[in-house]
């Protein structure tokens, strides 16, 4: 294993070459996809080991400060390395990025330097992964309605309540938590933000059985969970601002560019290879119209992403139209996966169990339903586009200015 720290170079071409050489030496075993899908245990073990190896070489958190084990370089160097790493099939799971992007952003912006170092060093080093403890059964699109309650007792807080849709919570060492600390003020004002050690007594993680049959998400229950006040991020009542910081990271990530390969091209090939009476499916005007529209959307998003990247590199803030990327791509995924089944007519609904893996059309069609809801439901994204990009007013809010405890539920 190479353990030399990469010297801080500022030449992008040289940086790319060095990264490429380092990956060639260190990621050789990931040059091809695994012949057999890794079990969850193996994935997590490999992913943590890979992160550690990157961290030791200065690639663990390229744009993060050196104080937490980062390389302290401008973001474009992180993009260069990520571009090079994408040539490999290196192990990764979402729990890592929740730590290295979301938790990193919120603690850096709202937390104390001591907290930033204490929580982020283990994430960069690959020792600890994170989960997000935001949504609740009664607080999804209306996130500020969370009712998990933290009550202050001296130098600590006592938490009771329930979270849901927490990805990888069963593997997480820490969670970023949004909790209500004051019910007597309007809903956005009574929230505070914490880092929760997931090993604290009273934290119970239960996997959710999803429509896919898998369990990517969890419910997390809190019974008299003690959180030290030293784990509070930002001031009391600053929870909503913290949550917004996290969500802006999440939004900027979702649908950020996409793969270079065209999925629609694959669909065209499939339709050209699907026999129909007197020809192939691609001869049908109805089929062509659908494919053309998906192509327009796919290419449009690709070029939209390039425009955004160019604007961001020029130092402009992310535009409010960014949320259209997930809006368009999630619906398209639902439609295109249905189309693959359509091509085989009734037979399209049947397949061997071995085909039921992650890239399978059945799975993707089911997963598309989740994509349209997670990280901002279609309806929420349309509201955002109307309000932030077009400057249209918010809908009437009956709970505006009303103390949280008096809002009907």
């Amino acid at each position: 294993m190479t353990e030399t720290i990469v010297a801080p170079v500022l030449d992008e071409v040289a940086y790319r070459e060095t990264a490429r050489a380092w990956l060639a030496e260190n990621a050789a075993e990931y040059a091809h996809p695994p012949s057999q899908a890794w079990s969850e245990d193996e994935l997590v073990t490999r992913a943590k080991a890979w992160q550690k190896r990157k961290a030791l070489a200065g690639y663990g958190a390229i744009a993060a400060p050196k104080a937490i084990g980062g390389a302290g370089l401008p973001t474009r160097f992180a993009q260069i390395f990520a571009g090079e790493e994408r040539r490999y099939h290196t192990p990764f799971y979402i729990g890592q990025s929740i730590g290295l992007s979301m938790a990193m952003a919120v603690i850096r912006k709202h937390g104390a330097p001591e907290q930033f170092e204490r929580f982020m060093k283990p994430a960069v080093a690959g020792d600890v992964s994170w989960c997000q403890l935001f949504s609740e059964p009664g607080a999804g699109s209306d996130l500020a309605a969370v009712r998990s309650r933290a009550v202050r007792q001296g130098d600590h807080w006592v938490l009771n309540g329930q979270k849901v849709w927490s990805s990888w919570a069963h593997r997480a060492g820490y969670g970023i938590l949004l909790a209500r600390t004051d019910g007597s003020v309007p809903k956005h004002d009574g929230l505070s933000f914490f880092v929760l050690d997931m090993k604290t007594p009273g934290v119970e993680v239960r996997p959710i059985r999803q429509i896919t049959g898998k369990s990517d998400f969890n419910e997390v229950f809190f019974t008299d969970v003690v959180i030290p006040d030293a784990n509070r991020i930002g001031a009391e009542g600053e929870g909503w601002a913290c949550a917004m910081t996290v969500l802006s990271v999440e939004r900027n990530q979702s649908g950020g560019g996409g793969s270079a390969a065209s999925q629609v091209m694959g669909l065209i090939e499939k339709a050209a290879a699907t026999p129909r009476e007197g020809g192939v499916a691609l001869d049908s005007a109805a089929v062509r119209a659908k494919l053309a529209q998906w192509w327009v959307e796919e290419q449009g998003l690709k070029h939209f992403g390039q425009r955004i990247q160019a604007a961001l590199s020029a130092g402009e803030p992310p535009p409010p139209t960014l949320s259209m990327m997930k809006l368009v791509s999630a619906t398209k995924a639902q439609q295109t996966n249905a189309f693959v089944m359509d091509l085989d007519e009734f037979g399209g609904l049947f397949g061997e169990p071995a085909e039921m893996e992650d890239d399978d059309v059945f799975y993707q069609y089911l997963w598309a339903a989740c994509l349209r809801i997670a990280g901002g439901a279609d309806e929420v994204l349309r509201n955002q586009l109307a309000e932030r990009a077009l400057g249209m007013p918010q809908d009437v809010r009956l709970d505006k200015g009303v103390p949280f405890d008096q809002i009907p539920s």
């Binding site: 091209m265 349309r382 109307a386 007013p393 918010q394």
Partner: protein
Amino acid sequence: MSLALNDTQRELKGQVASLLAERATADSLRRLITEDASWNEGLWRTFADLGFLGAAIPEAYGGVGLGPTELCVIAEEMGRTVAPIPFFSSICLTAEAILIAGSEAQKAKWLPRLASGEVVGTLAWTEGPGAPRLTGLATQLANNRLSGSKSPVPDATIAGICVVVVSSGGRPALAVVELAQPGVTVTPMRGFDQLRHHARLDFVDASAELLGAVDGAEALRRLEDRAAIYEAFEQVGGTEAALYMARDYTLQRYIFGRQLASYQAVKHNLANTLVSLELARSNALAAADALESDAPGVTASAATARLAATRAYETAARENLQLHGGIGFTWAANCHFHYRRARLLALNLGSAEVWTDRLIDELRARNTPARAA
């Protein structure tokens, strides 16, 4: 690929936009329709004087010598205001056709006059109902004599020259013909778009010249690609105008005690239009980029841009009128300009059905050699 305009292009956009905002107002459009006028000739003169007509024509032929992206920038502003001048016919179709297929002498003869605005040009392709096509053309060119009929031909009543798609020796070809001659009859047609007049052209043994620098079918393929990209920008301009017209109206209109724009049904409607606009603009910019770098696959980029822009403009034009409610159905409101123009631009270069086939065939052909290899 940054897909962004440079400073010069932005400046040009601003100049064209402010001129048109002043001179192509909605009231001036209404006046033209009432007078049954074909164009705003004064605006055309100003456009010429400011060098906008010759923007993409090489300096050697009296132009400014800028690139296709500058033409796209101007086309977008034309679309935004539904400007009543034959810019698309004369510059985006005629000048481009002569640039693609004309001889040195033909370029030297016509391009300076198109750039100065002294002559208006147009392109005649279709022969009655049906999409533009390369086969079965009844208009024939033989020994520099032209016979046949073309309709609808845009701006034919004000044009001095016309590039005609003909059959010559059994193959598609382009010919240039001067319209002021005995063998040419121009008959105005009653058209759906009141601000761009169309006519039928009848040629009986008219004097014409072949534009034969490149093969006719190849020249037409390139011309169609370029025209589709310029027009995609015109459609993007129209889309943006209609979208923000609707936005502004719903902000100002109160209903049941609050702004119409605060209702979710209205917000989601316009959010969808905004998504269509951004997809159309992104695809149009990518196509302009492909044109600029003369990359292979311009046809697919052009088709993608045209399909995206057609859908966006039709959506924006219809929903703009819808969200205005009854007032949108009146002559006094401005929705009808886009409502009609969106239809014209959706069909004048071939419908979405035609361009869907062009796109899918192109993509399929792109796939096939890869598979064989």
